[in-house]
């Protein structure tokens, strides 16, 4: 187990190093370099930039200093807004995005699993087809389109819920729905297919033969094994939800990190783009690592001492 965690940790560090190095290489190669004085008309900004990136040093020293600044969690100044650092933006935006993301995950996981269980228990019945039809639709409709549809139908036409911003629970319903539908559909499909497989296993027949209630069989015996594949895709789903927040926050005018990120892309505010990318990548890579470890702990069938392949 320890060896496995150690190996995963090593891979995580290399992945992190690659993304940090990639941002550095890209930063010095950006067309019309951000460190060009004509990019920023403001003197404060220019001074901030030079101070942070040590532009008078040769590249390898710059690189080391850049590595150091990232390790110490200092992402440097913005080049579009004077006296604003990437850290300021992250500090303001990330908690809101995190809230949105966490709510989405919780909604998606719970509703996806319930939908998947119902579909598998009514296999090939009407409910199964309905649930899976909805799931394919959920996968197919991009979240930004679903978001605009929801705004138009529910907020503008029916006027049930508010259109935008992030101030009360009622404001959260539409963005979370738009963001959670895709992951929910994926989880529902996966849960259904693994449940169908698990339900034919001998130990389930055994449980039935013992006279256990269907409720107990499903939740205590079947679901536990059926959920393993769901754990494996959590990393990918998290990445999807995180990038999803970029557009959802934009559409619903939620002042989260995603909104700042998209703004920085449109304004070509390179330090913000690079800083956010590194921060979010680190966040995701760490999550992926934790998911891997969780999977290892949850599934007793994984043998850690075995050499080679997965």
């Amino acid at each position: 187990m320890l060896k496995y965690i150690f190996k995963r940790f090593g891979i995580m560090l290399v992945t992190l190093w690659i993304i940090i190095t990639l941002t550095f290489i890209l930063m010095i190669n950006v067309p019309g370099s951000p460190f060009n004085s004509d990019q920023s008309s403001n003197e404060t900004i220019q001074a901030n930039l030079e101070a942070h990136y040590n532009l008078d040093e040769p590249y390898h020293i710059q690189y080391l200093l850049y590595l150091k600044s990232i390790v110490t969690f200092d992402f440097g100044p913005s080049i579009k807004q004077p006296n604003q650092s990437v850290n300021d933006l992250l500090g303001r935006g990330f908690p809101i995005s995190f809230e949105l993301g966490m709510m989405t995950i919780i909604v998606a996981v719970i509703s996806g699993i319930i939908l998947g269980i119902i579909a598998s228990l009514k296999h090939n019945g009407f409910i199964d087809y309905l649930a899976m039809g909805l799931a394919v639709l959920g996968i197919s409709i991009p979240n930004f389109i679903l978001a605009t549809l929801l705004i138009q139908q529910i907020a503008v036409n029916l006027e049930i819920l508010p259109t935008a911003t992030w101030s009360s629970p009622a404001h959260m319903i539409l963005p979370v729905t738009a963001l959670a539908t895709g992951p929910m559909a994926i989880i529902a499909r996966l849960t259904r297919s693994t449940m169908l497989e698990v339900l034919t296993q001998d130990y389930i027949k055994m449980a039935k033969a013992k006279g256990l209630s269907p409720w107990k069989i499903v939740f205590k015996h079947a679901l536990r094994n059926a959920l393993m594949p769901v754990v494996t895709i959590m990393g990918t789903l998290l990445a999807g939800i995180l990038t999803g927040t970029f557009v959802i926050e934009q559409i619903f005018a939620i002042p989260g990190m995603g909104k700042y990120f998209v703004e920085s892309i449109n304004q070509r505010d390179y330090p913000v783009i690079m800083g956010t990318t590194v921060f979010y990548s680190a966040f995701l890579i760490l999550m992926l690592f934790l998911v891997d470890i969780a999977y290892g702990i949850l599934d007793p069938r994984i043998k850690f001492h075995k050499k080679g392949g997965e």
């Binding site: 891979i11 993304i19 990639l22 197919s140 991009p142 990038t243 783009i273």
Partner: protein, 318 residues
């Protein structure tokens, strides 16, 4: 249980009368004939795919879409970027089937140009993924041992990179255009395909027919090409079908955050993004058509992929 209905044989063999037997006409050709026509793997898969209504719906939609993407603009008297400002936000009519947008451009014409871009991006990304994935996964799985270990470590590292973030990063630097979007989508996109090919190769290379090939002294490259790849085509094709909607989504997503294909091209994502403000003022058609085609194209690829997965799985053969 008491035995009932026991049939007693009343005849000993010598007593069986001759007229109980009929002599069959000997017909050599018919005796050898196979009752069912023999089907190759692909014929059988196709037969099962045709029976899957949803998959066929997807396939028919995609074929029609491809035809319209190629020929659609020819039927239209309007140009993609022909602006006609006095004519902006016309609802769908006989003149403009899908209405006009904020610059008075014909949405019908732009939709088919959008189809060209989306399908091109999706299919190209899938093809490049397959090419790299087959080479990488094939070598890694076939060689095994140390080579495999190193190649898989690289994949594990790349797999950890967040896909869309890397794409965004690359596009910020390279500048968005049709070719850079395809490059950015494939830089880390091939990893999933390589994993699948490797898994298949690892499994198939232990089969007897591969051993037979080897014992004849066949070269490795030939074994990979002639034995391993044709037999792992099923999962590869399924993965390809599912890569296309991912790429189409990514392109639309990028257009949406301002890293999309720039004019004079009109991609569905750009069209949807342009018309965000318009729906609040009631001009729904500017958003509806691109949104419908993005969603339905992804839907079609998804159900086709699901159908192919079932059809190409030899275990499900009836």
């Amino acid at each position: 249980m008491k035995p009932t209905n026991v049939v007693k044989t009343t005849h000993s063999p010598s007593q069986i009368p001759d007229d109980w037997f009929n002599k069959l006409e000997k017909d050599g050709q018919e005796a050898e004939a196979v009752a069912r026509p023999s089907l190759s793997y692909w014929q059988d898969a196709w037969r099962r795919l045709v029976k899957n209504k949803m998959a066929m719906l997807g396939l028919v939609f995609l074929v029609l879409l491809a035809i319209m993407a190629i020929f659609g603009p020819i039927f239209s008297p309007y140009q993609v970027n022909m602006q006609n400002l006095p004519n902006q936000y016309q609802p769908p009519s006989a003149k403009h089937w899908f209405g006009t947008d904020n610059a008075g451009r014909d949405v019908f014409t732009r939709t088919w140009y959008g189809a060209r871009i989306s399908l091109f991006v999706g299919v190209m990304a899938a093809l490049i993924d397959v090419t790299i994935g087959i080479i990488w996964g094939g070598i890694s799985g076939y060689k095994g041992g140390r080579t495999d270990n190193i190649m898989m470590r690289i994949i594990e590292i790349l797999y950890g990179l967040p896909y869309l973030l890397v794409v965004i990063l690359l596009l910020v630097v390279l500048g968005p255009s049709l070719s850079t979007i395809i490059i950015a989508l494939t830089v880390t996109g091939w990893v999933g395909m390589a994993r699948i090919v490797r898994g298949q190769v690892l499994q198939i290379k232990n089969y007897e027919f591969v051993l037979a090939s080897k014992s004849f002294g066949t070269k490795s490259s030939r074994i990979i090409r002639k034995n391993l790849l044709p037999n792992s085509m099923g999962p590869i094709i399924v993965q390809m079908t599912l890569t296309v909607p991912t790429a189409i989504f990514a392109e639309a997503f990028l257009s949406f955050i301002g890293l999309g294909i720039q004019s004079p091209f009109a991609s569905w994502g750009v069209m949807a993004n342009d018309s965000l403000g318009a729906i609040l003022s009631g001009n729904w058609w500017t958003l509806f058509f691109p949104a419908f085609f993005i969603s339905f194209t992804m839907f079609a690829f998804n159900v086709l992929g699901d159908g192919l997965q079932d059809a190409l799985d030899p275990k499900l053969r009836k």
